[in-house]
């Protein structure tokens, strides 16, 4: 609407936090804390069932999860129809609350929820997806990964992962769980908690889904080996010495932040599970989601855009998230890009700083992706690459 935007439409978008996690992972405990603690903010909460939320609040809305496939022939283009309706209703009186929290059922696929905030024009005009927060039960995660795909999807899709109920596991078990979470999702911020006891400022108002803001908050979040990478202030673990040897599995393993070993060129090449010391503890075997961090030089936009378009069109159903910073040849500004399945968004973020290395980085998290082929075709988009035959 350009300059015709009226006052009412110019209002700041309301942040939306999506809370995922299996039954028993601690979602209700966290919600109760958000609703009862004094943090000076009010939240509207959209839940599937009131269940055990013992707090009387006008702004708790019960909503039946209603998944709609868009009529465009794309199976992964799904939205939550009920959310569209509820958000529209809530946003007519935005002064009542500072943010919206969507609690999903334990088995829910987080993707339709997130896509609603991109694919529905009305919702998109008034709200902004702030972060997808996944709660993980440290004790039961290995079991969950064995029997469901959703548990893995929830972690893969999250911006923030709370590994909860840490008091119920040994430090060794916890280390394994954390490695598993990292292996599924190398870019999420991880916090380890018991009784959902995370500082709420680490969960709410994160701007994590807004790649530009995520980069402002944590400029190195794509740099897992960067010494300045913030792993979350509560992170107290030692990434280098886990005290047992599961690191040697090393199949597509994605290391945690600060991980010392060079893994950037290993992705996608070590497919064999050639470890003799098979350990029944290791839930990594049940992981089907994998990720790749790509690194390249300056890109040719005439190659990169058709490439990212094509890969998201053809591989969209297999791509859970993609995030990246792209350096274009001859472009003075950093270009940030992010995607969910077939939806890709990008924008210029800020000028490159003097002395800043102009390189392109892109992380894919997904299933059944041919990482070697993706890497090869990504590198072929570089400005210096030879024109493909």
């Amino acid at each position: 609407m350009t300059d015709q935007t009226t006052e009412a439409q110019a209002a700041k978008p309301i942040p939306v936090t999506v809370l995922t996690g299996y039954l028993g992972a601690g979602k209700t405990t966290l919600l109760n804390r958000i609703l009862s603690e004094s943090h000076g903010k009010k939240y509207a909460v959209i839940v599937n069932e009131f269940g055990e939320i013992g707090i009387d609040n006008d702004l708790i809305v019960e909503s039946d999860e209603e998944i709609y496939e868009m009529n465009n022939g794309c199976v992964c283009c799904t939205v939550r129809g009920d959310l569209i309706r509820v958000v529209e209703g809530l946003m007519r009186r935005p002064g009542r609350f500072d943010g919206i929290i969507v609690e999903t059922t334990g088995l829910a696929d987080p993707v339709p929820v997130a896509q609603t905030f991109f694919m529905d024009d009305d919702v998109r005009a008034k709200t902004e997806l702030d972060a997808v927060v996944a709660l993980v039960d440290a004790k039961h995660l290995p079991l969950r990964l064995k029997d469901s795909r959703e548990a893995e999807d929830q972690i893969a899709f999250a911006d923030v992962v709370l590994i909860n109920k840490t008091d119920l596991v040994t430090p060794e078990e916890l280390a394994i769980v954390e490695d598993v979470v990292r292996a599924i999702n190398p870019t999420a911020r991880i916090y380890k908690t018991s009784r959902s006891g995370v500082d709420l400022s680490r969960v709410l108002d994160q701007g994590a889904f807004n790649l530009e803001r995520a980069l402002e908050n944590d400029p190195h979040f794509l740099d897992h080996d960067h010494e300045d990478h913030v792993c979350g202030p509560d992170c107290d673990h030692d990434h280098h010495h886990h005290g047992h040897d599961h690191h040697h599995h090393d199949h597509d393993h994605t290391c945690g932040p600060d991980c010392g070993h060079d893994h950037h060129h290993d992705h996608g090449h070590h497919h064999g599970h050639h470890h003799g010391h098979h350990d029944s503890m290791s839930p990594i075997h049940d992981i089907t989601v994998k990720s790749i961090s790509l690194r390249g030089g300056e890109m040719n936009p005439d190659r990169f855009f058709p490439w990212v378009q094509k890969i998201t069109q053809t591989e969209g159903p297999n791509i859970l998230r993609l995030k990246g910073i792209i350096a274009f040849a001859g472009d003075e500004e950093r270009y940030v890009v992010q995607g969910v399945h077939m939806i890709v968004e990008g924008d210029h973020q800020r000028p490159w700083k003097d002395g800043e290395k102009r390189e392109s980085r892109l992380v894919f998290i997904g299933r059944n992706l041919d990482f070697a082929k993706i890497e090869q075709s990504f590198l072929a988009c570089q400005a210096t690459a030879k024109t493909p035959a």
Binding site: F50, D58, E66, R92
Partner: protein
């Protein structure tokens, strides 16, 4: 030149309707304002989600965040017809003999004038309900189509299938057609009196935005719709409806979306409300336009003609409402 009598209301105003010559305005906060020898206000809901004019009686029907279904009389008096704790009532329809239908999740609830209640449950959420003009029959819009139910019988539903999410539904005044709004930027129509084997579908696409407002012209010759930078008006006078015909585009403005449309009760004249608060009146015959209101503070959320057709009330999302006298 039409004159505008402004009425400023606090907050988002969801809709406006005339009962006789008294204009009513329903706010999202749940208050009902009426101009009846001065502004009178009554509280209908703690949070109002929808307020419609009952096409079968001189009352309004509303649903809210408080789970209440309310009938509002011409004097502003409210009667709670039903209450569903903890559910939002955002879909409501009025039928013959004081029947009311509303949606609760996957169920359409029909409450007849004598207080008896009948429920029809679908496989997916009910997003829109309409009563047929003749007989006690409802159409429930849901994912992948519409279910038609005779309220008085236990016969299985007649299903009208079309892939996608249907978010609203309306019968043509003559009952020959049924049209839905969709989550996609499109309308879908069914010819209800078609012969067996005949193509009964009508796809109406090409909108840049979702269609949220529909209005039938007197006698149902035209169906006007929002969702584009012009009112899109489909011809329904032939036996096949708009099949193979292009719609009229009335009140076209560059890039400024139409948010509401309302046909005059007697003439083929359409009131068109825009996202910037402007209102145009357009005559179908010669497509002549008249400016009825200049742009305001917010999108037009409701338009309603008085029974005489001399007054047009308008509601806005920013609260700057009013009544336009076109006879002046």
């Amino acid at each position: 030149m039409p004159t505008v009598a402004p009425l400023d209301i606090e907050g988002h105003v969801v809709s406006t309707h005339f009962l006789g010559d008294i204009p009513f305005f329903a706010t999202a906060a749940g208050t009902i304002h009426r101009l009846d020898g001065g502004e009178k206000v009554t509280q209908a809901h703690q949070g109002l989600l929808t307020c419609i004019r009952d096409p079968f009686s001189a009352t309004l029907l509303s649903g809210g965040e408080d789970g209440k279904v309310v009938r509002i009389g011409h004097d502003g008096e409210t009667t709670v017809l039903a209450e569903v704790p903890r559910k939002w009532i955002s879909v409501i329809a009025g039928g013959p003999q004081n029947a009311v239908a509303y949606a609760v999740g996957k169920t359409s609830v029909v409450r007849q004038g004598d207080g008896s209640v009948k429920e029809f449950t679908e496989e997916r959420s009910v997003e829109g309900i309409a009563f047929a003009n003749k007989g006690l029959r409802i159409a429930a819009a849901r994912y992948n189509g519409v279910s038609l139910h005779w309220v008085g019988t236990n016969a299985p539903a007649a299903d009208l299938d079309w892939k996608g999410a249907h978010t609203g539904v309306t019968f043509s005044p003559d009952g020959r057609f049924l049209v839905t709004t969709m989550q996609e930027n499109a309308l879908h129509g069914w010819k209800l009196d078609g012969k067996a084997g005949e193509n009964r579908h009508m796809r109406m696409t090409g909108y840049p935005a979702k269609v949220k407002s529909l209005s039938w012209s007197v006698k149902g010759k035209w169906l006007a719709s929002s969702g584009a930078p012009a009112a899109i008006v489909w011809p329904f006078s032939s036996k096949d409806g708009p099949m193979g015909k292009a719609p009229l585009e009335l009140g076209t403005r560059a890039n400024i979306m139409v948010t509401q449309v309302a046909f005059h009760p007697a003439e083929e004249v359409l009131a068109i409300g825009f996202i910037d608060g402007m209102i145009l009146g357009v005559r179908i015959a010669d497509e002549k336009e008249a400016l009825l209101r200049r742009p305001g503070k917010g999108a037009i959320t409701g338009l309603s003609w008085s029974a005489s057709g001399k007054l047009l009330s308008f509601a806005s999302e920013a609260g700057d409402c009013g009544v336009i006298d076109i006879s002046a």
